[in-house]
Symmetry: C2
Subunit: 213 residues, 2 copies
DNA sequence: ACGCTAGGTTAACCCCGCTAGTATACTTAT
DNA sequence: ATAAGTATACTAGCGGGGTTAACCTAGCGT
């Protein structure tokens, strides 16, 4: 009864010591992210595949994640922080508040299409497969979103943009999300040069917001 | 051996006559759409459920659809035509080319959030679950898209908008798609008043495109 | 030495997409 | 009328997925 290794299983993981149960959680997240990135396919990240990669049985995953959706979002969560870093860096590239805003938008789009699977999980899933917190709290309180609102607020205060900062920020988010998600869903579509299109969208959008004399 | 009706099956459908095989296709599409609309959940539209609803066995579905994805897109296909009708109607509501363009955008967004499941299937699926034709041809050749490009072209010709009509059209599409898909994916998010936000996005976007003096 | 419990495992359920092989009823040719 | 052929559908089953209930066991605290 010593395990038959029926279908090419990976080496059995040595059981964690008392009090170190959380280690499995980390290993699951790592394995899941590796699977997601290597295969570039969300569907490859099955409970069974992750468990197998870690060297544990499927039900063990449920010791740390309520269901598959929570696992997937947990895997992608660090991308929130990364998205903020990337957009903040980009925004810092110019002193002109509006140009800076455009850079922020371009960086957002680039980041999205560079990590399509994570982006799809975080922002394109049906509500029924999105944990409550990622429907509202984690989104609204995300650093990236907060920084965008701050940026827009500055623009409004300095008279560069007219309108409610929150409304304007949500509009900007919708715009960059639109191009990002469309490029992710329809990569085979005969898009014009990406640089040109991304720049066009960001530029004209901000131009529309600018409080021209 | 006269069928045990093991698990509450619906009445068996009478076999189609010779040459009328296509009738099953229609019935499958109808049943599929009904399922999609009544449940409001794409996942309810399984091959098995559709077959059961029609009164036929699952493999029969494959007589008319290569796989589940083709079935889903076929179910949503008529929405393409409807989307065109709705946006054309909206655009006809004003003589002002730019105001008309804004109306087109608002109508697109409204139509999308009123038929979220169909919209998600048509525009938000991963490429791996999108039939080739819906990645490129059906999109590019869709009446709605053609009409948008024509509309934008007129704006460019009359000097209202500056730029390449195709590029501008794709940008507009990206914008309205962005708000639509975000509203569909994150309905619980504390959005501002929808009318206000939709109007804001459409208005400012077109303002940014307008060739202001 | 012994029990308790954190940290797992076994076995199974139910649903799914899909396929190979088979049956049945119409239509048409003889 | 009858036989052949084919469009139309079915039977049975594979492999895989998420999830759960019930059980085990290593090792720490007493």
């Amino acid at each position: 009864m010593t395990r038959a290794n029926t279908t090419s299983s990976s080496p059995r993981r040595t059981r964690a010591r008392r009090g170190e149960g959380e280690k499995l959680r980390e290993q699951i997240l790592e394995a899941g992210e590796r699977l997601l990135i290597e295969t570039g396919d969300e569907e490859a990240v099955t409970i069974r595949a992750v468990a197998e990669a870690v060297g544990v049985t499927p039900p063990s995953v449920y010791l740390h994640f309520a269901d598959k959706d929570e696992l997937l979002f947990a895997i992608c969560e660090r991308h929130f922080a990364q998205l903020d870093r990337v957009t903040e860096e980009a925004a810092a590239g110019s002193d002109d508040l509006l140009e800076s805003l455009a850079r922020r938008g371009r960086a957002y789009i680039r980041f999205g299409i560079e990590h399509p699977e994570q982006y799809r999980i975080l922002f394109m899933r049906p509500p029924s497969h999105t944990p409550e917190s990622f429907q509202v709290d984690r989104l609204r309180d995300a650093a990236a979103f907060g920084h965008l609102v701050e940026h827009v607020s500055k623009c409004v205060q300095t008279g560069l943009i007219d309108g409610d900062p929150l409304l304007v920020s949500l509009g900007l988010w919708a715009v960059v999300h639109g191009l990002t998600s469309l490029l992710i869903s329809k990569p085979e579509f005969p898009w014009p040069d990406l640089d040109v299109m991304i720049d066009h969208v960001c530029r004209t959008t901000i131009r529309g917001l600018a409080d021209s004399p």
